[in-house]
């Protein structure tokens, strides 16, 4: 699926070559929400400006997803989950992880009330049509659960109305949306991938390798300023929430302050490494290796992608 999008985007990119403008356009992979709080903070608090950068944040639209913007050179940086990035690289588009924010996996499976996802063999499980579910597909195969994946566009309605047996959710987003929709969460009906040997990092800040190599210093400064933004957000969650809500309200996003506070808290929690107990902001080679193994084994990647292919080369 990504290959198709990328081929399409690639052609667009060639048609409209990258501008020499030194502005970095950053497009997060989703609409405005606390998942990208650190970048908003870095912008609003002037960390980018202080780093000598011209940065513009432009959110994706229904007609222009983040990844296509990256390949059309309409943006120079975007956020991707590790598994997404591996798929894109496997498809022949070299990417560079300039900053890894997530240290833990946030994906969960939520079953209908009282049912254990691990005992629902062959169940109809909702999955995002835009990617993100690679790990779940691996897990379904590895655990011989043979889920029937039902791709949905964006929300949790299908599960709420009872059209699905279970659905994938992010612990910082859909998980709370489901609670907000009156779904009861228990230890039994929630399966957390991070607790079952699938703790693979997610969100990271990526650039195309070609752009990165051309604007190496700029990219490094951008990554550092973004990291500073996240660190500030962790120190000042309430002020960060204010900034997030400004972005949310500006784009008329159908969410609310309570949801965004929960999302921010959870995203910040996920940034703390389980072992070191600190925000490391680094891609872990072991997790890259684990993700590659799983995806190669389940034929989602054609080859093992090394840690070196992902990170910056000094």
């Amino acid at each position: 699926m990504f290959a198709a999008i990328l081929i399409f985007c690639g052609s667009m990119a060639q048609a409209k070559s990258a501008t020499n403008d030194d502005t970095i356009v950053f497009t997060p992979q989703w609409t405005a929400q606390a998942q990208f709080a650190g970048y908003y903070v870095a912008y609003e608090k002037g960390f980018y400006r202080d780093a000598g950068l011209k940065v513009r944040i432009e959110h994706p639209t229904s007609t222009q997803p983040a990844i296509s913007r990256l390949y059309q050179n309409k943006c120079q940086a975007t956020t991707l989950q590790l598994c997404q990035a591996l798929e894109i690289i496997d498809d022949g588009i070299p990417l560079v992880n300039i900053l890894q924010t997530s240290m833990n996996n946030a994906m969960v499976i939520v079953s209908a009330r009282g049912k254990n996802p691990l005992k629902q063999k062959g169940a109809r499980v909702g999955i995002w049509s835009g990617g993100f579910g690679q790990l779940a597909i691996c897990m379904s195969l590895m655990e011989h659960l043979d889920y029937q994946w039902v791709r949905f566009a964006q929300n949790v309605n299908l599960f709420v109305v009872g059209a699905l047996d279970a659905t994938l959710a992010m612990s910082y987003n859909e998980y709370y949306q489901l609670i907000q929709a009156g779904v009861e969460m228990t230890d039994k009906n929630v399966y957390r991938f991070c607790n079952h040997g699938y703790n693979v990092q997610e969100d990271g800040l990526y650039m195309t390798r070609s752009y990165y190599e051309k604007h190496h210093a700029q990219a490094i400064r951008f990554a550092e300023a973004s990291r500073k933004g996240w660190e500030w957000a962790a120190m000042h969650p309430e002020e960060t929430l204010e900034i997030v809500m400004q972005y949310v309200n500006k784009d008329y996003i159908a969410t609310n302050r309570i949801m965004q506070r929960l999302m921010l808290t959870e995203v910040l929690r996920l940034q703390v490494d389980r072992e070191s107990k600190i925000r490391e902001f680094r891609l872990r080679p072991d997790m890259v290796q684990q993700a590659c193994h799983l995806m190669v084994e389940n034929k989602m990647l054609s080859r093992e992608i090394s840690y070196g292919e992902l990170v910056c080369k000094e």
Partner: protein, 777 residues
């Protein structure tokens, strides 16, 4: 508060008004409860009817959508392989139903091979015309949308949750809800979905317009609880009914959300935004949405509350007026009573003759006035009687105090009573239970004999005190000339028994201790036995005689013993043995003996120790009987004799010359002068001649012995004979102030001896008369 306590009118009025208030409260409470229930029921009916009407309106249009969609599906299935006809059907749907928002007839990927992956005939109103285009692209993969997935997954027609429909060509959006129906081929395989949408705007306006009360409002939520209609526009599509409960848990709101989600219909009473509200809810057809009307309680019960407050105010004013008039009326009615109270106060302050107001009433107050008047007369009379009685009592008390003084004065009170003597030590104590008592003790020394007594008159108080006084006087009078205790008691018994109409009697012990010899004669008339304390402790043996005053002819027996030097005789009344503590246990003889054992053998110490022991034993119990104790210690010491002569003469007065020489020699040896020698001679001669003349019967020869001893005590003559027993000391003292005719015969001799000698003592020992005359040097 003080006014309430002081004013009966206020108190009674308050009670009446309070009672009335309770009655009103109960009656009005019941009325208000019933009225409120009726208002509440009316509100429920009204709201439910409004809901019903709204629901029917909504369902009307929903049904049209459903019917139109079903019809289109029928048309599609007639030509499922002609792609272009789908544009016609889609367009026709909107042309026939101008109030529908859009219509899509979308097919499975690659259903029409020549149309590619996506084919969707999409029509939408554009002003007055309808625009029809082919929908679906890589950026709009419709088969991942809810409206496409829901009927296929649920395998039935359904309404979607409201969602934002984005029109890509015009870049406009609209919140819609869609009715979706899967299109199946002849084999039952799903080949596509028909989606007909309605603008939620229309629905929102319809529902928002529902306003049964001025401040009521409506809400609408989807299956996921999302608000699609709410007076706070910031909540629409952004919050669910549960969002607020994340930060402020609200079980009522949660319950309402679940009930609405589950398509239930009903009413809940709860707080919404800090206001008490009634929430009426009902599902909206098959859309999965649910609407609710929130009616503030203040709106529903506004009119009712106003009426209730008005009635309450009227009742309150009425009660206050009632209180005011009641106080006035009762005050007027009780005015005579107040006057009566004032007069009563005057009477109470001592003006007993104050005239009471005359009330011309026959009611309770009139009766009270009459009763009070009667009471006043009785009171005046009683006060007079009380005055007399008090005066009499004061007089009696005064008399009793005097009598007590007199009684105490009768008893010896100076101790030691004979400080000049070294042969006897005495200590006594009497404590009366009342002002005056019936106990007595007394003692005196006559002719070297100690006369002592202790007694207890039956009964207490004044009668006993009078008998005590008589008894003591008798003892003194009789013992003045009688030395034998039995005779003294017989004499007293005879006197006390005569005319003893009050049947009073006296237990008594009388002893006569010869201080020269230590011999003690005694008689016990029913009294407690004295205790002898010397080298050992023992009871004095006593005959069983009845108390004095009981039987006139009773012959009391005489007993005799010798008291060793340094022996103490302890006498007491039954007030000691029968002293009771608060548990009515008695002191008893055993404790007396214990005290004596622990106390030095000395009269004062024994009695003081005994007194203390009794007080300790009795404690706070009231003294029930008189308590009297008397202790005598005989301390005779052998005098140092430095001269001793004897002379024996026949009972012949002719030999008196020998006596005179004998006395002269002795007196000279004692160192007396001539004049004193002559006086001594006179006294001894008188005593010896008396013996010679009268001791023996006429013609019978007898002897008289005269022993003279000079010691540090003085000069002592002992005259003894075997003649008829005769005690010259028992002769009554002659009154020398009388003439010889008035005095009668005899008595002058012994009088002369008493004048010359310091002491005279008679004893009848072993059949001999022994007369001892002592002159101190």
């Amino acid at each position: 508060m003080k006014l309430i306590q002081r004013k009966l009118s206020v108190r009674v009025s308050l009670w009446v008004v309070l009672f009335a208030a309770i009655i009103f409260n109960i009656a009005l409470g019941f009325f208000f409860y019933q009225a409120r229930s009726a208002v509440r029921q009316e509100a429920i009916n009204r709201a439910m009817q409004t809901l019903e009407k709204t629901s029917l309106r909504v369902e009307g249009i929903l049904n049209r959508v459903e019917v139109a969609t079903n019809m289109t599906e029928w048309l599609v299935k007639r030509h499922p392989d002609v792609a272009d006809s789908m544009f016609v059907y889609s367009r026709g749907m909107l042309l026939n139903n101008p109030d529908f928002y859009n219509c899509s007839i979308a097919f499975e990927p690659y259903y029409f091979k020549d149309k590619g992956l996506y084919f969707s005939a999409y029509s939408k109103h554009m002003g007055d015309s309808v625009r029809t285009i082919q929908g679906g692209s890589d950026l709009y993969q419709y088969f991942y949308t809810d409206w496409y997935l829901m009927p296929t997954l649920l395998d039935q027609s359904c309404w979607t949750e409201p969602y934002m429909d984005i029109d890509a060509p015009t870049n406009t959006s609209e919140m819609v809800t869609s009715f979706c129906r899967a299109i199946k081929d002849d084999n039952g395989k799903i080949i596509g979905v028909i989606n007909t949408s309605l603008s939620i705007n229309w629905l929102s306006q319809t529902i928002s317009a529902v306003k049964p009360y001025p401040n009521s409002y409506s809400i609408m939520i989807g299956r996921g609880g999302t608000y699609f209609v709410h007076p706070d526009s910031t909540k629409i599509t952004r919050q669910t009914i549960f969002t607020q409960t994340f930060e402020e848990p609200d079980t009522a709101l949660t319950a309402l959300g679940h009930a609405m989600q589950h398509g239930e219909e009903g009413m809940k009473q709860m707080h919404m935004n800090g206001q008490k509200c009634y929430v009426f809810y009902k599902p909206l057809g098959k859309t999965g949405c649910s609407m609710a009307i929130v009616c503030p309680e203040s709106d529903i019960f506004g009119g009712f509350d106003h009426l209730r407050n008005s009635v309450r105010a009227i009742v309150l004013v009425g009660l206050l007026l009632m209180l005011f008039f009641f106080i006035r009326i009762i005050t007027t009615e009780l005015k005579p009573l107040r006057r009566l109270a004032e007069e009563a106060e005057t009477i109470a302050s001592g003006h007993f003759e104050t005239k009471l107001p005359e009330l011309q009433r026959i009611d309770e107050i009139g009766q009270l006035s009459n009763s009070f008047s009667g009471m006043q007369h009785s009171l005046v009379k009683y006060i007079e009687e009380l005055k007399d009685t008090t005066a009499q009592k004061a007089s009696i008390e005064s008399d009793l105090r005097i009598a007590s003084g007199i009684q105490m004065a009768m008893l010896p009170k100076i101790f030691p009573p004979y400080p000049e003597r070294d042969d006897i030590d005495i200590y006594g104590k009497l404590v009366s239970a009342k002002e005056v008592g019936g106990d007595l003790f007394d003692f005196f020394i006559r002719d070297e004999k100690l006369f002592f007594c202790i007694g207890d008159v039956s009964g207490k108080g004044v009668p006993a005190a009078l008998v005590m006084a008589v008894t003591r006087a008798l003892f003194r009078a009789v013992a003045a000339h009688e030395s034998m205790p039995d005779r003294i008691i017989n004499n007293m018994n005879e006197t006390l028994s005569t005319n003893n109409e009050s049947d009073m009697f006296v237990t008594m012990f009388i002893g006569v201790l010869d201080l020269l010899s230590g011999r003690m004669r005694y008689c016990n008339a029913g009294h407690d036995v004295p205790i002898l304390i010397g080298s050992g402790i023992g009871m004095l043996p006593c005959d069983s005689n009845i108390p004095v005053g009981v039987m006139q002819d009773w012959e009391y027996t005489l007993q005799e013993t010798t008291i060793d030097p340094w022996t103490t005789i302890f006498l007491y009344t039954d007030g000691l043995t029968e002293a009771e503590d608060i548990n009515h246990a008695q002191f008893q003889e055993k404790r007396i003996i214990d005290v004596i054992r622990q106390t030095p053998n000395e009269p004062q110490q024994i009695i003081l120790a005994m007194t203390q022991a009794v007080h300790q034993f009795v404690g706070n119990a009231e003294q029930s009987d008189d308590l009297t104790m008397l202790a005598l210690q005989y301390k005779r010491q052998q005098p140092h004799v430095r001269y001793q002569r004897s002379l024996t003469l026949p009972n012949d007065v002719q030999t008196i010359q020998l006596l005179n020489e004998f006395v002269d020699n002795v007196c000279e040896a004692a160192g007396f002068d001539m004049s004193e020698c002559m006086r001594m001679n006179l006294a001894i001669e008188e005593a010896v001649v008396n013996v010679m003349n009268y001791a023996y019967p006429k013609g019978v020869k007898g002897m008289v012995n005269i022993d003279a001893t000079i010691s540090d005590k003085g000069l002592k003559f002992v005259i003894s004979d075997n003649g008829t027993p005769f005690d010259p000391t028992a002769k009554e003292e002659v009154d020398t102030t009388l003439s010889a005719e008035e005095r009668g015969i005899g008595g002058l001799g012994i009088h002369l001896i008493r004048q010359i000698m310091d002491s005279i003592n008679y004893e009848h020992i072993d059949g001999r008369n022994v007369l001892t005359l002592l002159k101190r040097i």
